[in-house]
């Protein structure tokens, strides 16, 4: 194996080198540069030489505004993830275990199709539906004439609806993959041993699909916490998130080091939450 390893080293380097050089230059070096930038006392845009400092991290700890934004963003991420799980899991279950054959293939495609359409455009479409005098408003007035005007756009629920719409296919996809992998004979065996539907789900199906649930939750929670475009279009002034604050540091106030520090605080918070939940999830999976 070791000899073959050496002989193949040239080929391996030639095949993987270009892709990983590219990733290094456009992902890993920029992230390192961003981390370094978060310790600079002034923006790289200023000609004076910068000095290393911790003041941007201190500012985050001092200013309650940014902690509040962080809490709101984490809460938004948690609510969106939970909604996606509650709505997406049963849909994945239907897809994996109820619907069969060509219908399954067609409906699976229908679920992933909007996922590959532009997130910005989908957010805009919700603004279209939820705006005062929009389609939702008019539909309600047809059913209940004289109902008060719907005031959903530029509110917190509008942001949640938009984000759930954006990320729901992720959850359905990951849950479907792990549900589909459960052999039907396992379910049959549990049933013939006397398991009722509730117990069957609680003790067999759900624990076996937990990897998909966790993968989907992580894939949704992380970008939802960092969202800024959806809150800006659907939430207006009421949907303030940490993501919006970070974006402003780069596009409006040009305070790059502070924006970088906020970004890493956000990444750290998200990572800590995922790490804290990991042992709980693993214990649950070991209990199979």
């Amino acid at each position: 194996m070791a000899v073959a390893d050496r002989r193949n080293r040239g080929a391996i380097l030639a095949l993987t080198g270009p892709a990983y050089l590219w990733l290094t230059a456009t992902i890993f070096l920029p992230l390192s540069a961003m981390l370094y930038c978060s310790f600079l006392d002034k923006s790289p845009l200023v000609p004076q030489p910068p000095v290393l400092t911790l003041k941007h991290y201190a500012a985050f700890i001092d200013k309650a505004v940014y902690q509040q934004l962080m809490l709101w963003s984490l809460e938004l991420g948690a609510i969106v993830t939970l909604c996606c799980l509650v709505i997406g899991y049963p849909a994945a279950l239907a897809l994996a275990k109820v619907i069969k054959g060509r219908w399954r293939e067609a409906m699976f495609l229908m679920v992933v199709l909007p996922f590959w359409s532009n997130a910005l455009v989908r957010t805009f479409s919700w603004a279209m539906v939820l705006r005062p005098g929009g389609i939702a408003d008019q539909a309600i007035h047809v059913v209940v004439p004289g109902a008060p005007a719907l005031n959903v756009l530029y509110s917190y629920p509008a942001v949640v609806i938009g984000l759930v719409h954006s990320y729901l296919p992720y959850m359905i996809l990951t849950c479907y993959i792990s549900l589909q992998a459960i052999d039907d004979s396992v379910i049959e065996a549990a049933r013939s041993l006397g398991a009722r539907s509730g117990a069957l789900f609680r003790r067999v199906v759900f624990p076996m699909s937990l990897p998909g649930v966790l993968a989907g939750s992580a894939l949704i929670f992380v970008p939802a916490v960092g969202s800024f475009m959806e809150p800006r279009i659907l939430g207006g002034a009421k949907g303030a998130t940490l993501g919006m604050a970070i974006e402003e540091q780069f596009t409006v106030t040009a305070n790059w080091p502070f924006g970088a520090a906020l970004s890493f605080m956000m990444l750290a918070a998200v990572l800590l939450i995922c790490l804290a939940l990991y042992p709980v999830a693993r214990k649950r999976m070991e209990g199979l």
Binding site: A14, M34, A94, I246, S263
Partner: protein
């Protein structure tokens, strides 16, 4: 237990309604004559005609398509090579290299985009189409490697050995045996790469200088100024293009696994 499956199926249909209704509403309103989205609906192509005269949007569209095509070529080539290395060789560090594919997908684009902005500023790559292309390829690579890798995982190696035994040179084996068998995976990966780039907003937003934009960046600017049915029209075109790309992908890449 008879009620359970029926309820689940109904739920799945409701989810599909939730996913599609806003998109359909938006598309339909792009064909409505009223500039204020007033109903009753009156069919008119006025907003599509207005698009044809909107030079800024057309320029942005050309930029988007150009970047997506170049991105697809680069990401597919580099990604397929890396996937081949992972499938054909077992080597030290392989797991680490494969784990390194997660950050571009898992870290919020906001953080990746702003990091690129900072780094490219330092190494003096100007904001613009080239910088945007650099970023798009990075985001596409993990998708191509995973999709092509999935195809390689089910690849019948014995066929290649048979070709070699029957006297084919390595190049002949690659061209006549390996390449045709691998093609569906590569085409699937390429379409993914195209969709990633064509839909990418966040990275492009931070790397686009004033005056040069891609379609999503241009649309974001327009939305922030106010809603017009012209945005509906261009959005509908984008949705049709990217959904078309995915439907094509589905012909080459088996979704949902085997049954």
């Amino acid at each position: 237990m008879k009620i359970g499956p029926a309820l689940l199926t109904v739920h799945l249909w409701l989810v599909l309604v939730f996913l599609y209704v806003p998109i359909l509403v938006m598309a339909v309103l792009g064909f409505n004559a009223s500039p204020l989205y007033a109903l009753p609906f009156q069919f008119d192509l006025v907003w599509y005609k207005a698009l044809a005269g909107n030079a800024k949007l057309i320029d942005a569209g050309i930029n988007s398509i150009g970047i997506a095509i170049v991105n697809t070529a680069i990401a597919t080539a580099l990604g397929t090579m890396a996937a081949l290395a992972f499938a054909r060789y077992k080597f030290r560090g392989q797991t680490i290299l494969q784990l390194l594919l997660f950050p571009p997908v898992a870290i919020p684009w906001l953080v990746i985009g702003t990091s690129m902005l900072v780094f490219f500023f330092w190494i003096d790559i100007k904001r613009g189409l080239f910088a945007i292309l650099l970023g798009h390829v990075a985001l596409s690579l993990p998708y191509v490697i995973v999709v092509v890798g999935a195809r390689l995982a089910t690849f019948p190696r014995a066929v290649e050995e048979a070709a070699a035994t029957l006297g084919a040179t390595p190049w002949q084996t690659f061209r006549r045996v390996t390449a045709p068998l691998l093609a569906p995976g590569v085409i699937g990966g390429a379409l993914f790469a195209f969709a990633v780039s064509f839909d990418q907003f966040v990275i492009s937003y931070f790397l686009a200088p004033p005056g040069i934009t891609t379609l999503p960046v241009e649309i974001y600017g327009a939305i922030r100024k106010g809603f017009t049915p012209e945005i509906n029209a261009i959005s509908t075109i984008i949705i049709v293009v990217s959904m078309g790309a995915l439907l094509l992908t589905a012909r080459f890449y088996r979704f949902g696994g085997e049954r």
